[in-house]
């Protein structure tokens, strides 16, 4: 079927500002949006630039805004869009490097702030793993799904308005470690997220939940994070 994709282009070496470019292609309804982009790059305009790798929703490289929503281009098929309209832009809120490629430095800096690594410097048991019950493992099961694609933070109006807001992804990561029964740095992380630009900047807008390609309920985790802060501070 013939479809038209409106793509937001920007080449810093040539263009003063971003602009829209339409591409008319013959696409199969089962094509992913990523396939459409590759078709355009291969057959029509080799300068169209975007990140891609696994092409099945696990690496998080091709996060972009499609029809007004942050998502992964490899997880959206042509047939998912009944209206037949296709508007493709880079993730909102991140500086654009070129076309659909954005700069993730700020995103990773925010993540770094919550100490996004396992901390338990007690001597580990010699011949065994640390014991963790299935219920305790279940507590972090959803938050470990996160592939750091940036869809959530890029979709959050609070993040757009407040440059210092940690953002959904960082808060989710903070929760992942705070709730891990084996980790020992919960107190430190609670102190970090208990900040007006931390967990309290979330206004339960729920855009992150809509955007997350792994279907993680991020707002729920931020709410749980806030309850953790309450229960430890009182």
């Amino acid at each position: 079927m013939e479809i038209v994709l409106q793509i937001r282009r920007f080449n810093p070496e040539k263009d003063k500002k971003p602009f829209w470019q339409p591409f008319r292609i013959n696409a199969d309804p089962t094509w992913k949006m990523l396939d459409c982009l590759m078709h355009i790059k291969n057959e029509m305009d080799g300068t169209l630039t975007f990140r891609k790798s696994c092409a099945h929703g696990i690496c998080g490289s091709d996060a972009m805004k499609i029809n007004g929503k942050s998502t992964l281009a490899c997880q959206r098929l042509v047939r998912d869009y009944k209206a037949g309209k296709f508007v493709i832009e880079p993730l909102p809120g991140f500086p654009v490097i070129k076309d659909l490629v954005v700069d993730f430095d700020c995103f990773f800096d925010k993540l770094r702030k919550v100490l996004p690594w396992f901390i338990n410097d007690d001597p580990a048991p010699a011949d065994s793993e640390r014991i963790q019950s299935p219920e305790q493992a279940e507590k972090i099961l959803e938050s470990v799904k996160c592939i750091l694609c940036g869809s959530c933070t890029s979709s959050c109006p609070s993040a757009w308005m407040n440059a210092d807001y940690l953002g959904p992804a960082a808060l989710l990561k903070a929760y992942r470690f705070i709730a891990d029964s084996r980790d020992r740095a919960a107190g430190e992380r609670i102190r970090i997220v208990n900040d007006h630009d931390g967990a309290w900047r979330c206004h339960t807008i729920f855009n992150c939940v809509e955007a997350c390609p792994k279907e993680i309920n991020v707002t729920d985790h931020i709410a749980r994070l806030r309850l953790e802060i309450f229960s430890r501070k009182i």
Binding site: N11, P12, E13, K14, T30, K32, M38, K41, N42, E43, D45, G46, T47, T49, F50, R51, K52, S53, C54, A55, H56, G57, I58, C59, G60, S61, Q75, L77, I97, K98, D99, V101, F104, L115, P116, W117, F118, I119, N120, A124, D127, S128, E129, R130, I131, Q132, S133, P134, Q136, A137, I140, L141, V144, K145, I147, F177, D180, R182, D183, E215
Partner: protein, 579 residues
């Protein structure tokens, strides 16, 4: 061109590269840096689903010796048995350390790491399937990758993210460093180091239907080959039995481990014929050939080129808990709900058993006689130790990558302790890479990268795929001259410096052509069937003549020179592989 110097440079930030960086980093005086062509947590290790094998015995009785045997038998007796022994015996400790670093494995009711059945892993040398695969739902690779990356992040390891390596410089059998291309700026840089390690992953993007990421273009394998290193057993390409029909997206073996069934067009559970004991949990090469045979003989669904993977009897709860990723793949890409309907699947090019030959310490071999290339290491899928021989068992790859990655790190740490000097940089060694980039940036040829790439991928799938024969392979080999000519006539339109992915794709295509040729040459020469390499004109395994590793080296005129090296046999004499 800017020159940067580090003590140790690791190319690749998957499990092997990150494991090595952690081990090297144990000594804070060593200046280590990791180069990755993708942002590190986007590495393809993260796509691994089913599990990582270790004889922990958390769910049922299991022993290291059984794991060794399964690995050797699964490899169709091509694995070096001392290496398999090392892998299986180090596995329990390695997994537990991974857990100590915070990896969030699924748990048994006693709170230990949960384990599931997986293809080819058996108790008592093949009596029944055994639960050896440690897992986290069906995203095991993802959690391990993130755990290792987080630990590196904690330590503040230096990452060169989105840098492609264009050249590996080896002179007089000593590795000198690499030439890299910084994607964000289009600048080339020289990175010199006392030790260079390749952990660049696999090459299955050279095949039309593949589970691999677009990034898996075997760059390290091609670069090492071009720099004079040999390549070992490249013809052994694993085709994973279950990929989504037409898309190649991986459906983990864990689905069969949880009880999934393979059904053909006659509604028959055909694996009962091919592997009476373990059925769907036979090693991958056997299941793949079984599926392809059913398809070739017209017993695919509706006579088409796919069969069904039936998970409907598992129930929605079990699917949501243990196979959530593949459940979502089936829904998103095929519009199929695995709880209600079977999933259409076909074999997909998946894994490179062969690669850059290394010894037990992950030091790269210069030839098949045990000589080494100084200061050059390799681990993970891009290397060949050889632990997987002619066919890899599921869950042994995550183990191989992490374990040997760490071992390479230890080797490099020890090497640094011996106080090596920084090898000199050969004059103008960086010119070749610069010229290649300049040529492509100025190219006006009519040949499109995508067209040539698609041609190559189609040919590799059709003529060097699951079932091979001399005629197909010879015909395909003859085309490589044409591929090389067409590659010279490639024209790209993006002349920019910033994020020029068209240029990078052209360079990657060159790498694909390079190693594909070696795969075909090795497959043509090997007149037997072993593991994943199956010749319809030589359908039997020939231990007398062919129980040996292929060593391919680039000849002076660009031809492939093949040589061989015997397999290291310690405990197990080759037997017929029946399951």
């Amino acid at each position: 061109m800017e020159t940067i110097v580090h003590d140790v440079v690791i190319v690749g930030a998957g499990l092997a590269g990150l494991g090595a960086a952690l081990e090297v980093g144990v000594d804070p005086t060593i200046d280590v840096a990791v180069i990755s062509k993708v942002v590190p947590m986007r590495s393809h290790s993260g796509a691994a689903q089913g599990g990582i094998a270790a004889a922990l015995g958390n769910e049922e009785e299991d022993y290291v010796e059984w794991h060794i045997f399964d690995t050797v038998k699964g490899s169709d007796y091509l694995a070096d048995q001392d290496i398999a022994e090392f892998l299986a015996s180090e596995a329990p400790r390695a997994i537990r350390e991974l857990e100590h670093w915070g990896a969030p494995f699924s748990r048994t009711s006693e709170g230990k790491i949960a384990q599931r059945c997986f293809g080819g892993h058996t108790s008592e040398h093949g009596k029944a399937a055994v639960r050896r695969a440690c897992y986290c739902a069906d995203r095991t690779g993802h959690i391990i990758l993130h755990t290792l990356y987080e630990q590196n992040w904690r330590r503040g390891v230096r990452f060169y993210s989105e840098f492609n390596v264009l050249s590996l410089i080896i002179e007089d059998r000593v590795c000198r460093g690499v030439v890299v291309y910084e994607t964000a700026t289009g600048e080339l840089k020289v990175i010199r180091a006392k030790a260079v390690m390749f952990a660049t992953g696999g090459y299955a993007r050279a095949f039309h239907i593949t589970s691999n990421a677009h990034a898996n273009t075997g760059d390290g394998i091609a670069l090492a080959y071009n720099a004079g290193a040999p390549l070992e057993d490249l013809e052994f390409v694993q085709f994973h039995p279950t990929g989504l029909w037409k898309m190649g997206i991986l459906v983990t073996e864990g689905a069969r481990g949880e009880g999934g069934l393979l059904i053909n067009g006659n509604k028959e559970r055909f694996m009962e014929r091919y592997a009476p004991t373990v059925k769907e949990l036979a090693p991958r090469d056997m299941v793949t050939r079984a599926i392809q045979t059913e398809i070739n003989e017209g017993r695919g669904i509706n006579g088409e080129d796919y069969v069904y993977l039936d998970l409907t009897h598992l129930g929605r709860a079990a699917l949501e808990e243990r196979l959530p990723e593949i459940t979502s793949f089936a829904k998103i890409y095929m519009g199929v709900d695995p709880a209600k309907d079977p999933i259409p699947i076909q074999p997909t090019a998946h894994y490179a058993m062969g690669g850059i030959p290394v010894n037990k310490n992950c030091e790269v071999e210069a030839d098949n006689k045990g000589n080494l290339i100084g200061g050059f290491y390799a681990a993970g899928e891009c290397s060949c130790v050889s632990v997987h021989g002619a066919n890899r068992l599921g869950c042994n790859s995550l183990l191989d990558a992490m374990l040997f990655g760490r071992r390479a790190g230890v080797s490099m740490r020890n090497f640094m302790r011996s106080g090596p000097a920084l090898a000199t940089w050969p004059k103008s060694a960086e010119d070749k890479a610069a010229q290649k980039v300049a040529k492509l940036l100025a190219s006006t040829g009519k040949e499109k990268v995508s067209t040539l790439r698609q041609n190559l991928q189609g040919e590799m799938k059709n003529r060097c795929g699951i079932f091979r024969n001399a005629a197909d392979l010879k015909g395909l080999l003859a085309r490589f001259g044409e591929f090389a000519d067409r590659y010279d006539r490639i024209g790209i339109t993006d002349r920019g410096k910033i994020f020029n992915t068209e240029l990078l794709e052209a360079i990657e295509l060159g790498n694909m052509i390079t190693y594909s040729r070696v795969i075909v040459e090795g497959a043509l020469a090997r007149a037997e069937s072993r593991g994943a390499h199956y010749r319809t004109d030589y359908p039997k395994r020939d231990d007398a003549n062919w129980m040996k590793h292929t060593y391919a080296r680039r000849g002076v005129d660009g031809k492939t020179l093949l040589d061989y090296k015997p397999v290291a046999v310690t405990s197990y004499q080759p037997m017929e592989r029946k399951y």
